[in-house]
């Protein structure tokens, strides 16, 4: 029986190369860049920085919407949007203070649809006459525009 081989097995070679190329293309387009993960990590660090600095310079404890909003607009880079929720608690009974009730909540936002946001939280105190008046929890969400 006659064995017929053509073109140095060119079809087999072409087939093998095509499979290799498909694999390379597949790897190339499915390579997940880690940049997105670092972007989230960095944003998370930034969100924490914002809450820590606003707490350290005693802006948060004012519990004043416009003061806090002005500070947020001032320190956050222009390419970031934010939403800040603050829940304020107070003692249920002034003397023992072993139970808290929600006194008030408010929210400040840059009014831009939220997308892939990161969250930072921080608890802080408000004093009056050297005594704790409120316990508050701030939750800041920031995301890239």
């Amino acid at each position: 029986m006659e064995i017929r081989k053509g073109f140095f097995f060119s079809l087999d070679t072409a087939f093998a190369i095509m499979i290799a190329i498909i694999l390379v293309i597949g790897i190339f387009f499915n390579l997940k860049s880690q940049n997105g993960e670092f972007e989230k990590l960095y944003l998370s660090k930034l969100a924490n920085d914002v809450l820590i600095t606003l707490d350290k310079n005693r802006t948060l404890e004012t519990l004043n919407n416009s003061t806090i909003e002005n500070s947020l607009n001032y320190i956050l880079p222009d390419n970031l949007a934010f939403k800040l929720n603050i829940t304020i608690y107070k003692c249920k009974e002034n003397i023992r203070c072993d139970e808290f009730v929600i006194n008030n909540t408010f929210s400040i936002s840059s009014n831009i649809p939220e997308e892939n946001s990161v969250i930072a939280k921080r608890a802080f105190l408000t004093f009056e006459n050297k005594r704790i008046k409120y316990f508050s929890l701030a939750e800041l969400r920031i995301w890239l525009l």
């Binding site: 053509g6 073109f7 060119s10 070679t13 072409a14 190369i17 095509m18 290799a20 190329i21 390379v24 293309i25 790897i27 190339f28 390579l31 860049s33 880690q34 940049n35 670092f38 990590l41 960095y42 660090k45 930034l46 920085d49 914002v50 820590i52 600095t53 350290k56 310079n57 001032y74 320190i75 880079p77």
Partner: protein
């Protein structure tokens, strides 16, 4: 009459197609290798920038009064704050006067370069005692660089502390 393969049109066509496939394969392979290599560099730089900025902003350094005698500074323990995110002007001044290699050693930076500066929120470099708060090597235009820009307080002002790692 039989024809030899080496002169056949089909053979030439097959070689042509194979060559194209080969060139395409090699190009894609190189592109993928380059992208992988870039990703590795960017990952290393980003990790380092975030770690270093985090450390500088959270630690007072060891010993905590290292700025008074920099020879006491422990390796891998260099911080410039009074407390988290509140920069200590004396420590920042001491950092500016440290040798570049000493800073890199104290921050655990080995395989890339480093540049540090503190700016106001509009980008102007802050001065302490008449000196610009910047130290290290500025990145080249052609280098890969990552800037970890963190928000801090210096005195009573909000500032950006920039840690740029580059290669």
């Amino acid at each position: 009459m039989g024809k030899g393969q080496v002169i056949s049109t089909e053979f030439l066509f097959a070689i042509f197609v194979l060559l194209i496939l080969f060139v395409l394969g090699v190009s894609l392979w190189n592109l993928t290798a380059t992208r992988l290599s870039e990703d590795l560099i960017k990952t290393e730089l980003a990790t380092s920038a975030i770690d270093v900025s985090d450390y500088l902003l959270k630690s007072q350094g060891a010993p905590t009064d290292w700025e008074e005698n920099v020879t006491k500074l422990t390796s891998l323990d260099l911080g410039v704050v009074l407390k988290a995110n509140k920069l200590d002007g004396d420590k920042v001044s001491a950092l500016l006067n440290l040798n570049y290699d000493k800073i890199k050693e104290s921050l655990g930076i080995k395989s890339h370069e480093f540049y540090f500066k503190i700016t106001d929120l509009s980008g102007g470099v802050i001065q302490i005692s008449g000196n610009n708060t910047e130290v290290g090597l500025k990145p080249n235009a052609s280098s890969y660089s990552v800037n970890s820009r963190r928000i801090a307080i210096l005195g009573n002002e909000f500032v950006y502390m920039n840690v740029i790692t580059w290669k």
